[in-house]
C-alpha cells in the first residue's frame, strides 16, 4: 500500500515579482517499507520537497497524502510528527549547541508524551550505536558522525513509520558516511521504516534505495528503479548525463 503519495506538488518562495518556483508539479508514490530516492544537482528542489511535506516550506499546492491522510496548509497536527520524521543534512547545524544529548532526546520524548524517558533515552542511544557514555555530552564534544547518530536517534524517538532523509551523509567524511548509511539500512530492516531520501550522490542512492526520481530545475524528469540505474538504462537524456558523470 502507498505510504506517501505526492501529486502535482508545487512549492514556491516569495511573492509576485520575487516568486521563485522551487518545485513544479512533482508527483511520486512511495510504498510502505520502500526506500525512495530523490536525486539531482544543487538547487533542483529535492530538499524543498521534504520541507514542504513537513511544513517547513509554507507555500505549496498540490496533494500530499501520508498513510491515507491528506495534509493541508502550513501547520501539521501533532500526530503527523509521530508518523513522519526528518534527519537534516548538516549534523553540525541540526543540534542545539547548548543542549546535551540527554536534553535533546529527553525533550523530544517529552513533547511526544512518552513516559519512562530515562529508559527510552538509553535505548535510543543503543539503537543508533552510541553508548551511554555519550549521553551527557554536548554537541561540541561529539564528532560529525556521532552528531548525525544523535540526530537519527532524535528522529526515531517518536517511533515514526516514515523517515525523510535530507542528504544525511553529505556533510560527513567518506569513512563515516558508510557507517551512517549502514546504520540507516539496519534501522530500516529492523523497524520496517519507509525512507524518502534526498541525495546528489547516485552511488549512495543506488546503495540505499529501491526506486528513485531524478530532478532537474524543480521538475521530476524520470522515475526509475535501481536495477535500471545499475544497468545504466535511463531514458531521459539528463538522467543519462548524471549517470555518465557519476561513473
Amino acid at each position: 500500500m502507498t505510504m506517501l503519495d505526492v501529486n502535482g506538488l508545487n512549492v514556491w518562495f516569495g511573492k509576485n515579482r520575487d516568486r521563485v518556483d522551487a518545485v513544479k508539479g512533482a508527483s511520486f508514490q512511495v510504498a510502505g517499507g520502500e526506500s525512495f530516492g530523490l536525486v539531482g544537482e544543487s538547487g533542483s528542489g529535492k530538499s524543498t520537497i521534504l520541507r514542504a511535506i513537513t511544513g517547513l516550506a509554507p507555500d505549496w499546492s498540490g496533494t500530499v497524502t501520508v498513510n491515507g491522510t491528506p495534509i493541508t496548509g502550513k501547520k501539521r497536527p501533532r500526530g503527523f510528527f509521530k508518523t513522519v520524521q526528518m534527519v537534516f543534512q548538516d549534523p553540525y547545524a541540526s543540534l542545539h549547541p547548548r543542549h546535551s544529548v540527554d536534553q535533546v532526546l529527553g525533550e523530544t520524548l517529552h513533547l511526544h508524551g512518552f513516559d519512562d524517558i530515562d529508559g527510552r533515552v538509553a535505548k535510543l542511544l543503543d539503537d543508533v550505536g552510541l553508548g551511554q557514555k555519550f549521553r551527557f555530552r554536548y554537541p561540541h564534544q561529539l564528532s560529525g558522525g556521532q552528531r548525525q547518530r544523535v540526530a537519527i536517534a532524535r528522529a526515531l524517538a517518536p517511533e515514526p513509520t516514515v523517515l525523510l532523509l535530507d542528504e544525511p551523509t553529505s556533510a560527513l567524511d567518506v569513512s563515516v558516511q558508510a557507517e551512517i548509511l549502514n546504520l540507516l539500512a539496519d534501522l530500516r530492516a529492523d523497524r520496517g521504516l519507509t525512507y524518502l531520501m534526498v541525495s546528489h550522490d547516485l552511488s549512495v542512492v543506488g546503495h540505499m534505495c529501491d526506486r528513485l526520481a531524478v530532478m532537474r530545475n524543480g521538475e521530476i524528469v524520470e522515475i526509475l528503479d535501481v536495477a535500471a540505474l545499475r544497468a545504466s538504462q535511463a531514458s531521459h537524456p539528463y538522467s543519462q548525463q548524471l549517470l555518465q558523470a557519476s561513473l
Binding site: R78, F81, A93, S94, R98, E107, L111, F136, P158
Partner: protein, 303 residues
C-alpha cells in the same frame, strides 16, 4: 593522588555521567578560560571587593556618614582620622564612599534585573513572531533609541519625581532598547537554523521554542553587553545624582557627592575627585569583567 586532583579530573572529564556532572563540567571549563584572562580577574576582584565593602559598611566605615562636624570642614587628604578628608559639612568622605557602594550596587542590581529582561522579551518575541508584532515592537524600540539616554532619563525623573528608585526606573526605561535590538538580531539568525526546524518537527510550540531554545543562546551575549553597559549605567546614575535628580542629600551617592564638591573644586579638589575615582574604578572593573566574559560566553568566538 590528592583529593583536589581527582576533583579536577572529575570536572574535566570528556564523558560526564549525569546531568549535574555535565553542567558542572561545562561551568568549570568556562571558569578555567575566564581565569586565564588576568584583566578580567582584576575586574572581578574589584567587584567582589565592592560587594564585600557594601555588606560590611557599618564595620568598615570609621565614622557615621551623616554626622557633621562644621569645625572640621573641608579637611585635606590624610588628615588624622579622615584619610580622604572631609566635605563641606565636615562629613568623613571615606565613610560616605563606603556607604555609597551600597547605593551603587543597588542601582546596578535593579537596572540589571529590569532592562535586559525587558529587552530579551521584546527582542525575541519580535524576532521570532515577525510580521506585525515585529514592526510594532521595533518601531517602539526605535522611538526610545532616538532619545539621548540621559535626556530621556531626565524627562522620566522630572515626571516621576526625584529619588533613587525613580532614577533606576528611568535608567532602565532608557537602557532596554539596545538589548531588544541585540536579542532580535540573534533570534533572526537562530530561528532559521536547523535545530529550531528540528524541534518544530517534534511539535514544539512558539513559547517553548523561544524560552528553551532561543533564550539560552541570546542570554550569553546579553550578559556580556550588560556588564559592558554597567559602566554607562553607573555614570548615568551618577549623572542624575550630579544634576540633583537621583539620590537626594544627605544620601552618600557618589554622583551627588561630586555635585556637592563641585563648588569647591578649585580650592578643595579632593571633595569631588575621590568619589570620581570610585566611580572610575567600578566602571573600569565592569568593563574588564565584560571583556573577559565575552571571551568565555560568546558562542561565536568559541568552539
Amino acid at each position: 593522588m590528592s583529593d583536589t586532583q581527582t576533583l579536577r579530573q572529575w570536572l574535566l572529564t570528556e564523558t560526564p555521567t549525569s546531568r549535574r556532572h555535565a553542567k558542572l563540567s561545562a561551568l568549570y571549563q568556562g571558569w578555567l578560560s575566564f581565569r586565564s584572562n588576568t584583566m578580567a580577574m582584576v575586574g572581578l576582584g574589584i567587584l567582589i571587593a565592592l560587594v564585600l565593602i557594601a555588606f560590611a559598611a557599618p564595620l568598615l566605615a570609621p565614622h557615621d556618614p551623616f554626622s557633621q562636624d562644621l569645625g572640621n570642614r573641608l579637611a585635606p587628604l590624610g588628615t588624622e582620622g579622615h584619610v580622604f578628608g572631609t566635605d563641606s559639612l565636615g562629613r568623613d568622605i571615606l565613610s560616605r564612599l563606603i556607604y555609597g557602594a551600597r547605593i551603587t550596587l543597588y542601582i546596578v542590581a535593579l537596572v540589571a534585573l529590569i532592562a535586559p529582561v525587558a529587552g530579551l522579551l521584546v527582542g525575541t518575541v519580535s524576532g521570532y513572531v515577525g510580521g506585525w508584532a515585529d514592526v510594532v515592537l521595533m518601531r517602539i524600540t526605535d522611538i526610545f533609541l532616538a532619545f539621548p539616554r540621559l535626556v530621556l532619563a531626565l524627562a522620566f525623573v522630572a515626571a516621576l519625581g526625584a529619588g533613587i528608585e525613580n532614577a533606576v526606573l528611568a535608567i532602565s526605561l532608557t537602557a532596554w532598547p539596545p538589548y531588544a535590538r541585540i536579542a532580535r538580531a540573534e533570534t533572526l539568525t537562530i530561528r532559521s537554523s536547523d535545530y529550531i526546524s528540528a524541534i518544530k518537527l517534534q511539535g514544539a510550540g512558539p513559547i517553548r521554542i523561544i524560552t528553551k531554545h532561543i533564550w539560552p543562546l541570546c542570554i550569553s551575549s546579553l550578559i556580556v553587553r550588560v556588564t559592558l553597559d554597567m559602566a554607562g549605567i553607573i555614570l548615568a546614575a551618577a549623572g542624575l545624582g550630579f544634576l540633583g535628580l537621583g539620590a537626594q542629600p544627605p544620601s552618600p551617592e557618589w554622583g551627588a557627592m561630586i555635585s556637592e564638591g563641585r563648588r569647591f573644586i578649585l580650592d578643595h579638589w579632593w571633595v569631588a575627585t575621590v568619589p570620581g575615582l570610585a566611580i572610575f574604578t567600578v566602571s573600569l572593573a565592569f568593563n574588564l569583567l565584560g571583556d573577559g566574559l565575552r571571551d568565555v560566553l560568546d558562542p561565536k568566538a568559541g568552539e
